[in-house]
């Protein structure tokens, strides 16, 4: 009897042991209430579109949404990014783009979501038009980083003075997210490098439709790397006194240096050449001493691994969101985790390559989308969504202008475009 029982039990175990439930997945109802901007009480809002982007499988569920009231949707449980876009007509007749977004929503049960919205910040200052962070390759295939640069563009209809404008690099990576405490993302951006354009306020005027070229090393890089290009005509360069004699910067005395406010490294600062950080510009209402004294940011977080959780600390500085003129999140699709700033400033990301360490990223940049107006002046797109505002993974403008190499084999660029895609 015992033997028979054991055999029966063994059989049952063999057949059903470790079986998992495979219950049918039912959609869940999600209610989205839009919180319209407080500063536009008299504006008329058009019917907009709500999009749920399923982060797991890349599918998009979209439906039209009423600006006022509750919008209901039926969603497959999952991990989503939510976005809303519409237009508002103000009393003065201006048409504003209204946007709202929330990333990383875990929707596994019916949920009520309140989505704050805001009018797209209309900047009256310079904007970032291009970031060349990937570097080039030498003919031997070895990477060369000294030719990185950032371009700023005057997208307004009046002269803008660049004096005092600061460029910064985010403290956090867009490819690595922890629960940072304190979480200041709604008020500020945490940074690990800040360099300011010198000047007394009117030293560096930028005319409408003109650009500033800010280089890492403003020299003719072709003398070192025949596949590179000439940056000796740059308007500025960032220069670092390195504490490591093996790793020093080059200073071109003919090109003014940026004022270094802070940088995390004791050697030389280079843009993240896989594009894992955000870069931006801000106009501070304070000087460097005040910044260093009052903007220190230290956050705690737990480094979670399968071996356990380890308390960690990170230190940098913060810049209040209200001072930020422009910010561009960079990332790579295969390892992207989050945007390191509030979606009000930037709700997308630009990229070069689609996987971490993509070797096809070299000789490529992110360039802001542009068109020509009736006077032949470039008008650039700025909706605070780097994913849509930028042409990603395109040939840098300096390579196009100088017809220099577009790959390690030395093939030359023959195209001339407005923004890496649109032909002039």
């Amino acid at each position: 009897m015992i033997k028979h029982s054991i055999i029966i039990l063994l059989t049952v175990f063999l057949l059903w042991g470790c079986s998992d439930s495979f219950d049918r997945t039912n959609p869940v109802e999600v209610s989205v209430t839009l919180a319209l901007p407080d500063d536009l009480p008299d504006a008329e809002f058009d019917e907009g579109e709500i999009q749920f982007y399923n982060i797991s499988n890349g599918t998009v569920t979209s439906f039209s949404a009423k600006p006022k009231g509750v919008n209901k949707a039926s969603l497959i449980p999952g991990f989503y990014n939510l976005s809303f876009t519409t237009e508002a007509n103000t009393e003065s007749g201006r048409i504003l783009t209204i946007r709202g977004s929330k990333n990383g929503l875990e929707i596994t049960a019916p949920a009520n979501i309140e989505l704050p919205t805001h009018a797209t910040v209309e900047t009256d200052d310079l904007i970032i038009s291009e970031i060349f962070f990937t570097g080039t390759l030498q003919t031997s295939g070895v990477q060369y980083n000294g030719d990185q640069y950032i371009k700023l563009y005057n997208n307004t209809d009046h002269v803008v003075y660049a004096d005092g404008l600061c460029i910064f690099e985010s403290l956090f990576l867009t490819t690595q997210k922890f629960n940072y405490t304190p979480d200041i993302i709604d008020e500020a951006v945490s940074v690990d490098a800040v360099y300011a354009i010198p000047g007394n306020g009117t030293d560096y005027p930028v005319l409408p439709g003109e650009e500033l070229l800010i280089a890492d090393i403003a020299i003719d890089h072709k003398t070192i790397n025949p596949n590179s290009f000439d940056l000796s005509h740059a308007d500025f360069e960032w220069y670092d006194e390195s504490s490591d004699p093996k790793n020093t910067d080059i200073d071109n005395p003919l090109v003014p240096n940026l004022d270094k406010w802070y940088c995390y490294t004791q050697t030389i600062w280079q843009l993240h050449n896989r594009g894992f950080k955000a870069y931006g510009i801000f106009r501070p209402q304070y000087d460097s001493a005040e910044f260093l004294a009052g903007h220190r940011y230290t956050c705690d977080y737990d480094q979670v691994t399968i071996a356990g959780s380890f308390p960690m600390q990170k230190t940098g500085y913060w810049i209040e969101n209200s001072s930020i003129v422009d910010i561009v999140n960079l990332s790579v699709e295969s390892v992207y985790q989050w945007n390191v700033c509030t979606p009000r400033l930037d709700c997308g990301y630009a990229f070069c390559g689609t996987i971490d360490g993509d070797k096809t990223r070299y000789f490529r940049a992110v360039r802001r989308k542009a068109r020509l107006d009736e006077n032949g002046v470039r008008i650039m797109t700025k909706t605070n969504d780097s994913g849509k505002d930028f042409n990603s993974w395109v040939i840098p403008s300096e390579i196009e202008l100088q017809h220099s190499s577009i790959d390690a084999a030395g093939n030359k660029s023959t195209q001339q475009t407005l923004d890496g895609v649109n032909m002039q």
């Binding site: 998992d20 982060i55 499988n57 497959i76 991990f79 690595q176 997210k177 480094q303 996987i355």
Partner: protein, 497 residues
């Protein structure tokens, strides 16, 4: 080499056992074509002694080649070239039967696309893919043995088997897949009134590890983790190059077979479950699948006639794990969704007939049946679905004759065709995106009429009583209405004793 020597020694040891019988008569009595209708019923090792009447050992080596002009299933490629060695023995004992097999294959599969995983049919839809693909080289080892005996009316049997595979490519992308599958089947039965009633239990473990490397300076292809009907894990696409599959199968069967002639029945249930894990993201459990197969075969078997009807229902469910905001490289699981479902119904009838005449041994077999297959991807709105239905039929004939004491000739011919009906794809828009384009190409192939026809010829020469050497050749032509066609040929040398 050691394995090869072991196989040869096993074969030599068996030669003496068979010497007393004519090897030609034993070859002729091993008629796999005739046994086809009831082969499934006799899978239980309790029935091993009924599979064939004579003791026979053979060892063969050769080369098989199939090349289609276009892959019928992208994930399985356009065909293969396979150098093989295999040996099997079946020895009747006073108490029942004992036997075993061993095999080695050195294969090259041609132009596999949208898949870098081995055993793609088993692990579908949770395959790893990239946009490049290409030929794959592989080495496969397989071993097995069975024992069957009885004590008065109580019969028992056990069979074990093991298959190991290593598959790789030596240019970018360079997958290296290692899989293993050990299995065991236990059976016991009771013989009464000219019938043997039996129960069988089977279990097997499956493991596969995948690793894809790139060494080119020119860049890497993006890696995709597919989850069915054109969907992939966007979140983990790109750099997750190491994955693993961990599964096991268990099953039960109830069987009845006639000792000589009469009705034969088999009812079986089998469940195969597996998980897919991303090894390089802290062993992230990405997906899991369960495939249940219920089958029933009922037939009649006599010395010269055999017929069976079969019904099979297979349901595969797949669930994807959904992960929330990561903490570093650790992704918390927030939900598990049943996202994939596949249901296959198969029913059909098979029959075979044989006769011995002055002109030789003749065997004729025919089959006809229908398959209904419906795949759904449930975690999108609207749901995605693909339906493939087909009527299929085939016929095969073989002839064997010992034209002298020294020479045995065998020849055969076969024809198969498939007529799809009621096929369709819903909820998926055709696009140039490579996963979707391969999906539609596979659909186009599966929903097209196809036909294959072939011939085979074998000649054996008896070196001495009880020992023969032979050559075997096969040729088949396959055509699919969508414009795809291909040739299959095989040549081999066989040692039988």
């Amino acid at each position: 080499m050691k394995k090869l020597l072991s196989i040869i020694m096993l074969c030599s040891a068996c030669a003496d056992v068979c010497a007393e019988n004519s090897v030609f008569s034993r070859i002729c009595s091993t008629d796999t074509l005739f046994d086809t209708p009831v082969a499934a019923i006799l899978e239980n090792p309790v029935f091993a002694d009924m599979r064939t009447a004579a003791t026979l050992t053979d060892a063969s080596a050769g080369y098989r080649h199939l090349r289609m002009s276009q892959a019928p299933v992208a994930a399985e490629g356009e065909g293969y070239g396979s150098a093989f060695f295999k040996a099997s023995t079946f020895i009747r004992t006073a108490n029942g039967a004992i036997g075993g097999f061993a095999g080695y294959n050195n294969d090259r599969r041609y132009n596999i696309q949208c898949n870098e995983t081995s055993d793609a049919a088993l692990l579908y839809p949770y395959l790893t893919a990239d946009s490049v693909g290409g030929d794959m080289r592989s080495e496969r080892y397989s071993f097995g043995a069975f024992y069957n005996g009885h004590s008065r009316r109580l019969h028992y049997g056990v069979s074990i088997n093991y298959t190991a595979l290593q598959e790789y490519r030596s240019i970018d992308p360079r997958p290296k897949n290692t899989s293993s599958r050990p299995g065991i089947t236990l059976g016991c039965g009771y013989e009464t009134a000219g019938y043997r009633f039996a129960i069988g239990l089977e279990a097997s473990k499956y493991k596969q590890s995948n690793s894809i490397k790139f060494v080119s300076e020119l860049g890497e292809a993006k890696i995709y983790h597919l989850s069915g009907l054109g969907i992939h894990y966007v979140r983990f696409s790109g750099n997750s190059k190491q994955s693993a599959y961990n599964g096991w199968s268990r099953g039960i069967s109830l069987n009845m077979a006639p000792v000589k002639s009469g009705m034969a029945v088999r009812l079986n249930f089998n469940r195969f479950t597996f998980n897919k894990i991303l090894s390089d993201i802290n062993n992230l459990p990405l997906a899991r699948s369960r495939r249940d197969v219920c089958g029933a075969v009922a037939g009649y078997r006599s010395g010269s006639f055999s017929i069976s009807g079969l019904f099979n229902f297979c349901e595969q469910l797949g669930a994807e794990n959904i992960f929330g905001s990561p903490q570093g490289n650790v992704y918390p699981e927030i939900a598990s969704l049943q996202s994939f479902r596949r249901r296959d119904f198969i029913y059909g009838v098979q029959t075979s007939w044989r006769t011995a005449a002055a002109s030789g041994y003749w065997t004729v077999a025919a089959n006809a049946g229908c398959t209904y297959s419906m795949q759904n991807y449930l975690a999108t709105v609207p749901e995605r679905s693909m339906e493939i239905n087909a009527f299929g039929a085939g016929a095969e004939a073989s002839w064997k004759k010992a034209v002298s004491d020294k020479i045995l000739l065998q020849a055969g011919t076969m024809i198969d065709f498939k007529l799809p009906f009621g096929c369709g794809v819903d909820g998926i828009e055709n696009s140039s995106q490579f996963i979707i384009s391969h999906l539609f190409n596979d659909y186009r192939m599966a929903s097209s009429r196809s036909c294959s026809a072939g011939v085979n010829f074998r000649a054996d020469y008896s070196i001495k009583p009880g020992l023969a050497i032979g050559i075997n050749t096969q040729y088949a032509y396959n055509t699919i209405e969508s414009g795809t066609h291909g040739n299959y040929f095989a040549v081999g040398a066989i040692l039988s004793f």
